[in-house]
Symmetry: C2
C-alpha cells in the first residue's frame, strides 16, 4: 500500500493518489520510466460524500481500500466523472457493485453513452450536466464546465466554490511520481519537463482546445482558482497560474531562447558524425542543442522527442536513406510530430545516403502537410568530408540567421 | 576476447567470428536480444592469405588481433568484399592502414564507389569482378557470383572449388549467438526461427531476389555447395540444403500448417478481450495462434511480429481507434509489414472504438496497396458483449473456411 497516498488537502477534501509503476507505455504508446499517478478526490459533507474520478482498473482493490479508510462506501452519494478514460474510470464498475446503485453519477451528456459502451453500465442514476450548471450538496456548491477534447470528447472540470478549487481531470496533469503532492513541495523544473511531455503526447493532438477552453474558463466564466487539482501528478496551491501559463505556452509551442531539438536516426553512425558537427556549430553560435538518437545501441523516447520540440526555437531531423526511403523510425517520428507537435518552427534536415539520395526528397513531401518551415534540407553522401562539414555549418548558420530575422520581426 | 571465435573449419580455411552483444537494434531498427555474430573467413595458402569480409568497426581492434593470431597481416594478399554494409566492412580501413596498400580488393564493380563513399578509400588496388569470374591463387580457385540486393546493391558470393564451399555474406545468415559454429552442433529449430526473423527484417524488402538469385546459382551456374559459410550465425555443413530451402520458403511466405499470427495493440485492454475470444476460437478450430501485443505494460518486438507473419496461414491485426485513426504503432507495424512481409495471406482485422469507428476504414485503405486479402474487417464498440463475441467467432470461422477452400483449390 506504500504506493497509495491519502491526504486531506483542504477541509473535508481528500486526495486519493496511486503511483502506477507498472505502466511502461502510457496509452500503450508513450514511454514513461518516470511513472504516473492517478488522483481521485473525495469531499466529505454532513449529508454524505462526493467522489471525483477514480483509478485504473488494475488498482481498483487498492482504490476501494483507500476510499474505505475515509468513509463508509455507502456514504458516497455522488460520483463526478470528469472524463471516461479508463485510467480514471476503471475502478468505477467495482465501486458501483459495492454501492448497489444508491449513488448519482454526474458528467457531460456524452458520458452516459460511454458508461454503457465501455462498462455496460446502463442501470444507473446518471445526471447529464450543462456547462456552467451547479450542484449544491452538503453545504458545498460544485459548478461543472465542459472542456471537450481535453482530452476526451466528454471532458469537463468541476469548480468548488468553498476554497475556490478547480478539479481539472487530465488538464494540468503530468507524468511522474512526485515526492510531494503539492507544487511547493518539489523542485518544479524537472516536474514541468514531465508535464510538458504529458501535455504534448497525450493532449497534443487537441492542443488548440487548451487555449480555447482555458481562455473561456478565465474570461467567460471568471474562474481564477486558488488551487488546481488534476487527475495526474502535482496539486497546485502555491502557483496555479504557473501551470496554467505553462499549458498555454506548450499549446502554442513557445520556445525557450536558444533551445534546439536535434532528433536523428543513424544505422552505422554516418548521420551521427554529421550531427556532431551540427551540434558543435549550434553551440558556437550560442545555442543549446538537446539531442535524441535512435541508433544500434539505444533508442530515444518518442515522448521525450515530441516534448523537446515544444519549447525549441528550431528542430533538426537527421536520417539515413533506407531502402530508397526515409529511415522507418524517422518517418514514424515525423508522422507523430505532425499529429502532436506541429508547430510553425524552422526545420533543418540532415540526410545521409550510401548510393542514392531519397530521404531528403521524401521528407520534403511529408513536411508539406506540416506547419514546419523546412529552411534547409541537406543530403550528404557517405563519409563526412571537409566539404560536407562546411555545408553542415552553413546550414546551421542559415537557421541561426532565420531565427535572428524572426526575432527582429517580432520586436 | 571470449566473444571472439577463431577456428579452422576446412583445411587452411578459418572462421573469425565475433559475438556482438552491444547492438540492441540491428540496423538501428530490429530488436535483437538474441545478439548477432559477424563472421569473416581467412584462407591460408603458400602464396599468402585471402580474407573474406570483416567485422563492425566497434570490434576492429579485436578483429586485427584475431587475424594476427592466424597470419602475419602483411601475408594477406587479397580481400574479398561480399558487400559493403558496415557490419562487415567496418574493420576494413583499420586493416588497410596496417597493410600499407599492399593488398588487392575484390568485389562487385559498384563496390569501388562505396569504398570511396563510405570510407574515402580511393588509393587502393581494386579489382571489379564479373559474375562467374574466377581468381586462382595459391592453388585455390575462387569464383564470384553477383547476387545484387541481397541485401545491398553490390552483393556477391564466392565459391571455393576446393571443398565446394560457398561464402554467402548476408545470405543464409541469421541473428543469434549460437553455442556451436556448425549446423550439426546446435538445436536447429530455435535457430531457424532467428534466421527467419533475420531474413524477413533485413532482407525482406528484396525477398523476390532471394528466389531469383538462388535459382540462378543452382540452375544456371550449377552451384550445389557442400558447405555454406555466411557472414552471420551458423555455418552449414550437415544440411546446407535445409537453409537454402528455408530461405526459399521464407521468401514466398510458405505457411506452417495451422499457424496464425495475431498482432495487436490495446491501450486499455478492450481489443485484448476480443483477441482472447479470437484466440480461443482459432484453437477450437485446431489452429495455433502466435500472439504479440503492444500494451501499457509491454511492447512486442517489431522484428518478431514480421517473422511470425512469414510462416503463418493467416494474419490477425487488432487495434483500437486512436484520435480518429488507427493506433499509431499498428499503423507503423502495417507499413513495415507491407514493405517487408507483404504476402498474399488472408487477414482479419479486429478494431475496437470508444465513440466513433475509424481504424477499420483506415486499415482497409492502407491494405489496398498490399498483397493481403482482408477477408473480414470487424469493428466493435467498447466493452465486449455476447453479440460481439459471436461476431468474433464468426469472423474466425470465415477465415478458417477461407483457408480450407484455398487448401482444397491447391490440391
Amino acid at each position: 500500500m506504500s504506493q497509495t497516498t491519502v491526504r486531506e488537502i483542504h477541509p473535508n477534501l481528500y486526495l486519493l493518489r496511486v503511483a502506477d509503476t507498472r505502466t511502461a507505455y502510457f496509452e500503450a504508446l508513450w514511454e514513461i520510466p518516470e511513472g504516473v499517478t492517478y488522483n481521485a478526490y473525495l469531499l466529505k459533507t454532513p449529508e454524505g460524500a462526493v467522489l471525483f474520478d477514480g483509478w485504473k482498473s488494475v488498482y481498483q482493490e487498492a482504490f476501494l481500500e483507500a476510499l474505505a479508510s475515509l468513509t463508509p462506501l455507502e456514504a458516497i452519494r455522488h460520483i463526478v466523472i470528469h472524463h471516461m478514460e479508463p485510467d480514471h474510470s476503471g475502478s468505477l464498475p467495482a465501486l458501483l457493485d459495492r454501492l448497489h446503485g444508491k449513488v448519482t453519477l454526474w458528467g457531460h451528456p456524452f458520458t452516459k453513452k460511454l458508461l454503457a459502451a465501455l462498462y455496460g453500465l446502463t442501470e444507473i442514476d446518471f445526471q447529464a450536466v450543462k456547462s456552467g450548471q451547479s450542484l449544491t450538496f452538503g453545504g458545498h456548491t460544485l459548478t461543472f464546465y465542459h472542456t471537450p477534447w481535453l482530452h476526451w470528447p466528454e471532458t469537463m472540470v468541476t469548480h468548488l466554490a468553498e476554497g475556490n478549487l478547480l478539479l481539472t481531470g487530465d488538464i494540468f496533469g503530468s507524468f511522474g511520481l512526485p515526492e510531494g503532492i503539492f507544487d511547493d513541495e518539489v523542485d518544479l523544473q524537472p516536474y514541468l519537463d514531465a508535464a510538458r511531455k504529458y501535455t504534448i503526447s497525450v493532449i497534443g493532438f487537441y492542443r488548440d482546445k487548451i487555449v480555447k477552453h482555458l481562455t473561456t474558463l478565465r474570461d467567460t466564466y471568471g474562474v481564477h482558482p486558488a488551487m488546481i487539482l488534476p487527475a495526474h501528478g502535482l496539486l497546485w496551491r502555491q502557483a496555479p497560474e504557473r501551470i496554467i501559463q505553462s499549458y498555454l505556452n506548450w499549446a502554442v509551442g513557445k520556445p525557450q531562447p536558444g533551445k534546439i531539438a536535434v532528433l536523428y536516426s543513424s544505422m552505422y553512425r554516418y548521420v551521427e558524425r554529421g550531427i556532431g558537427v551540427l551540434v558543435d556549430e549550434f553551440q558556437r553560435q550560442g545555442y543549446t542543442p538537446v539531442v535524441h538518437r535512435m541508433v544500434d545501441e539505444e533508442r530515444g523516447s518518442l515522448a521525450d522527442m515530441l516534448s523537446d520540440i515544444v519549447d525549441s526555437e528550431a528542430v533538426v531531423l537527421g536520417t539515413e536513406t533506407y531502402e530508397a526511403d526515409v529511415f522507418p523510425l524517422t518517418a514514424f517520428l515525423l508522422s507523430e510530430i505532425i499529429k502532436k507537435a506541429n508547430f510553425a518552427k524552422p526545420l533543418l534536415v540532415l540526410g545521409v545516403f550510401g548510393w542514392a539520395p531519397a530521404a531528403g526528397r521524401k521528407l520534403r513531401g511529408l513536411l508539406e502537410s506540416s506547419a514546419f518551415d523546412p529552411v534547409h534540407i541537406l543530403e550528404l553522401k557517405g563519409l563526412l568530408t571537409g566539404e560536407g562539414e562546411a555545408q553542415i555549418r552553413a546550414a546551421v548558420q542559415e537557421i541561426v540567421s532565420h531565427l535572428a530575422q524572426t526575432a527582429t520581426t517580432k520586436v
